[in-house]
């Protein structure tokens, strides 16, 4: 028995010594794609409500391209990332897949994703921030499909009762929160997320104070701008005008009940609130652009991208389908189907998108919105931020110390690029 174990370890050692990184980065170059008539079958993976709706939606593409069959595999958002990584490992990737915008660096680095053919996709159509989400190491992989950004949701009835307008600056946000709490009975003031996903609250504040979290391929968290951002974030907890003693899952009921008079989130909340708030709730709230910091009101861009895998047996049809999905007319129709905001700027001129003023606020915000850098380690670094943000929110750490800790831990993780 012992001999066998030793033999096994030796064998493992031999295998390991045969390893070693060859040190070559991906040297992907975009290749043109045949734009002629497409045919054959393509498999598409998509998540969440997009996955549920895309199958029926793709019938329009099939009708316009006889001979092409699109098979959509819907999957849960929570399992999609692992499924895609497993598929890459097993060489069993679909032709096309929807991916989260922050996954691009990791997927591109595996070398499994096809660079975007320049003869098919025009990058100038997209919001600049959203094109950044498909770019890694100077090469574009895939296209932005839909976008999300964050804005300021507030209760119009409570603001009126407190006699305040939606805040235009950081200072006004502080006075807004105090006013709705003192005069309109909103016991929680302004809700800011400080747990999972809280980095999305922080990044806009950093950009709004003129900073950034990365420069020359290195993390830059220990900066005066980061400290300013965290100080602004913490000021609400210090003043008791943002709740840090509520359970996960208290939101958005606290907004609907009027305990919190405002929060920051993306366009999907419009439809969630209209549904959960009941009849007439749509008249009780509105959406305003991010209050501005010293360097403006830059918001965070997120959403979904589409990629084509190199292993596809039907490259032409796959890219043609992706191109069709990113066509302005299709994008406007897709908005009407699942309420995803178009990644193509001109689609916002469509009557369906112009009709809702709240959507227009997001459309305006998207023009300057930015994304976190597409580094493969972003998830981990984001988790570091979340931990420190929580300490700041619970008043257990000063903004300057938090910025320092973020820097040390992020440097330890690296960018992975």
């Amino acid at each position: 028995m012992r001999k066998q174990v030793t033999a096994g370890l030796l064998a493992a050692a031999v295998v390991l010594s045969g390893c070693g990184r060859s040190g070559t980065a991906t040297d992907d170059k975009a290749k043109n794609v045949d734009t002629g008539k497409a045919s054959g079958t393509i498999t598409v993976w998509a998540q969440g409500s997009e996955g549920e709706q895309l199958g029926a939606f793709a019938k329009q593409f099939e009708a316009a391209n006889p001979g092409v069959t699109v098979n959509v595999t819907p999957m849960g958002m929570d399992v999609a990332h692992d499924k895609i990584i497993s598929a890459i490992a097993g060489g069993a990737t679909p032709d096309v897949s929807m991916i989260g915008t922050t996954w691009m660096g990791e997927l591109a680095k595996t070398g499994a994703v096809d660079p975007t053919p320049g003869n098919l996709i025009d990058k100038s159509r997209f919001f600049p921030g959203s094109w950044d989400t498909v770019t890694f190491d100077g090469v574009a992989y895939g296209v932005p499909w839909y976008v999300e950004t964050r804005a300021f949701y507030y209760r119009t009835d409570l603001a009126a009762k407190a006699g305040v307008k939606p805040p235009a600056t950081w200072q006004e946000t502080q006075s807004f929160a105090k006013a709705v709490k003192d005069k309109a009975g909103a016991s929680q003031g302004v809700y800011q997320n400080y747990t999972v996903g809280s980095w999305q609250e922080l990044l806009p504040l950093v950009w709004q104070s003129g900073g950034d979290i990365v420069r020359d391929g290195k993390w830059t968290f220990d900066t005066p701008q980061m400290t300013q951002a965290l100080t602004q974030f913490q000021s609400f907890y210090k003043a008791g005008t943002a709740p840090n003693k509520v359970d996960e899952g208290a939101f958005p009921q606290n907004f609907i009940k009027g305990q919190a008079a405002a929060f920051y989130s993306g366009p999907w909340m419009i439809y969630a609130l209209d549904k959960d708030g009941g009849a007439g709730f749509a008249d009780k709230y509105d959406v305003a652009p991010y209050p501005k910091g010293s360097a403006g009101g830059t918001s965070l861009m997120g959403g979904g991208d589409l990629v084509v895998f190199k292993k596809t047996k039907n490259r032409a049809a796959a890219w043609k389908f992706v191109q069709w999905l990113s066509d302005p007319a299709t994008q406007a129709k897709w908005f009407q189907t699942v309420k995803d905001l178009p990644a193509v700027q001109s689609a916002f001129g469509d009557p369906a998108l112009k009709a809702d003023k709240r959507v227009a606020v997001f459309g305006e915000t998207l023009k300057t919105a930015k994304t976190p850098p597409p580094y493969p380690t972003w998830d981990q670094v984001a988790h570091v931020l979340e931990t420190e943000i929580q300490k700041v929110a619970l008043l257990k750490e000063s903004p300057a110390d938090a910025a320092k800790t973020m820097q040390t831990k992020a440097d330890g993780i690296g960018t992975g690029a």
Binding site: C19, R21, G111, T195, V196, H383, T387, L394, G416
Partner: protein, 314 residues
């Protein structure tokens, strides 16, 4: 006569040598054939991944390397050294220890108490209680999480309303670093003791009546009978529940996953959760190292428990 006997003996010896030997070989072969389905499954689905995990813990394998998993660098024990200095991992180890040290005894004590009560006392409602206590075990964790969140809600939860009625201001159970982990221990105990109860109930039915009668003759009271007869007779059941619950609690993941996401401030982050997170983040090498440590600790703990709790006569 003597020749015949010698011949027979010789034949015997010859037949023993020639006859049964191939039969034994064939028997051994057939044994392997019958064992093969299990062995192949075990090697491919269990031992293989286990060794692969151990192997990758000595490399810097990341999710970006999945297409060429052998094209990575060996890093020796660096991943293990990093584990020792990782605040989150240390916190996770402590939380897991706390969870096991409180959860296992609580689950067993409640399970045993419920089993003894059902076995001896409550007559008619037995089935009702037995099913009732076992129900959480077979209920989806999602449903349980929703119910417990209502229960523990700081503003309108049942618990804090009850506390409020007697003038105590209850904390935000799941949002407070001090109460979050104990709350999850309570929830896990509630969820798990029904299983132990069923095991104990079955074991109690196997305790011979004569032992109690003899104890009665000797003048033993209720406590003495429990202490001197019931408990020793339940030793095998105890061993099983202790080992089973410990392994379960060591891999504590569902409760924090659905209730707190490991927060606030990692106060409910468990070892399994931390490993799950590292795998999710694509750090396969590092996660493999952490998983190997957890595996080793569980095996060692189970070994010790088997040693301490094994039936005396073995």
């Amino acid at each position: 006569m003597s020749t015949a006997a010698a011949t027979r003996r010789g034949l015997d010896r010859a037949s023993r040598r020639a006859g049964p030997a191939p039969r034994r070989a064939r028997g051994r072969f057939m044994a392997w054939v019958f064992a093969a389905p299990f062995l192949i499954l075990f090697l491919v689905m269990y031992a293989g991944p286990l060794l692969a995990g151990l192997g990758m813990s000595f490399t810097d394998l990341r999710s970006t390397d999945v297409r060429h998993p052998l094209n990575v660098n060996g890093v020796g024990l660096a991943n293990y050294q990093r584990l020792m200095h990782d605040d989150a991992m240390r916190k996770a180890a402590w939380n897991t220890f706390f969870f096991v040290a409180t959860g296992v005894p609580l689950t067993i004590v409640f399970g045993l108490a419920a089993a003894v009560a059902l076995h001896s006392g409550i007559g008619r409602a037995k089935t009702f209680f037995r099913t009732g206590y076992f129900l959480p075990q077979v209920t989806s964790i999602i449903g349980i999480a929703v119910a417990w969140r209502f229960l523990l809600d700081p503003q309108s939860g049942l618990l804090n309303e009850a506390l409020g009625a007697i003038g105590v201001h209850g904390p935000a159970w799941l949002a407070d670093e001090r109460t979050a982990l104990p709350s999850l221990v309570a929830m896990a105990t509630w969820r798990g003791f029904g299983f132990d109860m069923v095991i104990f109930l079955a074991a109690l039915q196997g305790v011979p009546r004569e032992l109690y009668e003899a104890a009665d003759v000797d003048g033993a009271g209720t406590w003495a009978k429990f202490r001197r007869v019931t408990l020793p007779m339940l030793r095998p059941a105890l061993l099983f529940t202790v080992v089973y619950s410990t392994i379960g609690y060591m891999q504590f993941l569902e409760e924090p996953f659905v209730m707190t996401k490991g927060g606030p401030l990692d106060s409910t982050l468990s070892a399994s959760y931390a490993i799950y997170f590292q795998f999710g983040a694509g750090n396969y090498g590092y996660a493999g190292a952490a998983a190997s440590v957890l595996f080793t600790v569980i095996v060692a703990l189970s070994f010790v428990q088997f040693r301490v709790l094994r039936p005396k006569h073995l």
